[in-house]
Subunit: 192 residues, 4 copies
DNA sequence: AATGAATGAGTCTTCATTCAT
DNA sequence: AATGAATGAAGACTCATTCAT
């Protein structure tokens, strides 16, 4: 059944299968046979398209990062220009579906942990880390002096990631309402 | 030459070696031969003392949790009874050495991620998670109405864990001063 | 766009690519993807033209044998009819370019070694082996009694192959002058 | 069945199994499972004792070289001090059992061919190559001027290796009588 | 108490081949 | 004529565990 132009289809198939496997089995227990099985293809195809397991893992993390970036951008596009609204949009983006469904959170956490010992994943994670911080700081600086804006950005970033981490670790599904509310209060407090 | 009373010594040796290995190699790349080598013993001894790799991993996480508990308790013992002081003590405990040295943070993160797929680790992590929240809530309730205290506790717990997570992921050593300051401001804000 | 008359071009392209790959990577590490890549074609084409990897390998060895045969015939054609001159011509042929460039010698050696376990290659190698011997014996028999001619032929063949083998194994390029001189002395000695 | 002090026994077992496998299957087709199976052990043990397939291959070649060295030394010890006798002893050593049984010759050829692309094997092979040459030259120099001795040594070395190579490639068992006789004649010729 | 020899399942990767287009 | 997608077996290697000593 070989066909031409399968590359994008197969790549997405395999990335989806990777997310599913990491979610269900955990990062350490995810083997390429598991992934191939879920994707309904043979193991050899992974090397064919991604050059190996590492390539697939990295592509998967890149996909998640891009997804998050898209969601945030989309929500920001729908609000007016006030810093408060834009900050809130960033918060909402970080707690929107599918960022807060259990599977995604588990995969994120797995990636973060493993990024500590995989240089390429580390690089990707750093980009993400810095992106959140600088987005927040940019908005705070419209209103606050530089140093204060830096602190506010760090605090809000920590608050977001903290809710996020605790959500990933706790049993049961997450209700994003409370995190959003508390972040919102934190923003108003800082902008005051 | 059989030696008597080696058990506690060997156990601690092996736990230390595990921490060192997980820190340096990451959770997924830590094998029992690596651990045994660092401890200067044979691999067989691990099964002998801990029943297997899992047993050692769990004992190591239990050890970390106990350490954290001890530090917090110690700091709390040194402050007066005001909720603000006690909350701040908890914060300080969570950002005290060795909780904030890079090695410990990497190990914690590795444990958290793997706890998602190891029931026993998950149980331990849940205890820790709940302990922080209830400690904070207990103090807030001395001053705030129940629902408000609950929210304040959740916010502060997220702030602590968020700083903590971002610290683990960022390159370079961590300066606990800013997290403590921002947590302190958050506490004052909530108690107002 | 189907092209006509590509067969001889493609076949030679692939044989050249095979020689290049075996020379650079060694026999055991030469894969058809490597060959296809060097030839600038797809892997499928190899099966199409040679029926599989084995077919290509055999065709390549046949090509080398033919090359050697041509060179020897050519040099023999240019000398007078004396046995000494004709024997020397055979020697010169076996040490002429490109037989003595490093790449060719490495490929020959690789083929010989693998011929021990590939019947078809073995057959080709035997033909070559016998051809050298009988060519030499034929000349020696013009001058020497049969048994003596047989021995002289075996000795000279060994001398040629020995220089050749040692040349293949030693580091650096080969100077064919000394082997030719010593073979020449050997011939004179035998013919005396 | 684990016992202590198994290392030398197992190592020799595995080296013997490697020789048997390379002889029967060829270098390229010799897998560690084949070797382990012949030795009657599990595959893991190879990594345990030799660090991997490469380590075993190298140890095996080292073993062969040592064997050859021992045989030559032994035969040299039994002859008087005349250069002719000593040169003949070296020749005899190179054509003595087990150097000339088919299996050993095939293994040697396989090693030589693969040495072209394995640095460590190449190093071992170079040592062997140089050893033969310098042993021969040393004896010739007792009688001949330096340059002539060098040439005689190169010629005799080529003759030895050439007989040897042709013996490895030809079908059927080898009779070392003729090579020894012709080498002997060559020696006498040179010393004259 | 402690060792380290031994196992065998499991992992990732490579590869020759096949085949629809 | 030519491609390259896809397969699945086979390869080397790692690893947690067991066990005789």
């Amino acid at each position: 059944m070989p066909k031409v132009g399968m590359q994008p289809i197969r790549r997405q198939q395999l990335i989806d299968a990777t997310l599913s496997a990491v979610n269900e089995l955990g990062f350490g227990e995810t083997s390429i046979s598991q992934i191939a099985q879920r994707a309904g293809v043979s193991t050899g195809i992974i090397s064919h398209y991604f050059g190996g397991k590492n390539g697939l893992i990295e592509a998967t993390m890149r996909y998640l990062l891009q997804q998050l970036g898209n969601v945030v951008a989309e929500i920001k596009a729908g609000v007016d220009d006030s810093p408060e609204q834009r900050l809130l949009a960033i918060v909402r983006g970080n707690f929107s579906t599918p960022q807060t469904d259990k599977a995604a959170m588990k995969v994120w956490l797995a990636f973060w942990a493993s990024s500590l010992h995989h240089p390429e994943l580390h690089r990707l994670q750093q980009v993400n880390h810095y992106r959140l911080h600088s987005n927040l700081k940019y908005e705070f600086m419209k209103v606050l002096p530089k140093q204060r804006a830096e602190q506010a950005a760090q605090g809000l970033a920590a608050l977001i990631d903290g809710f996020w981490l605790r959500g990933a670790l706790v049993s049961g599904e997450i209700d994003p309402a409370l995190p959003i509310q508390l972040c919102s209060e934190y923003i108003q407090q800082q902008l005051k």
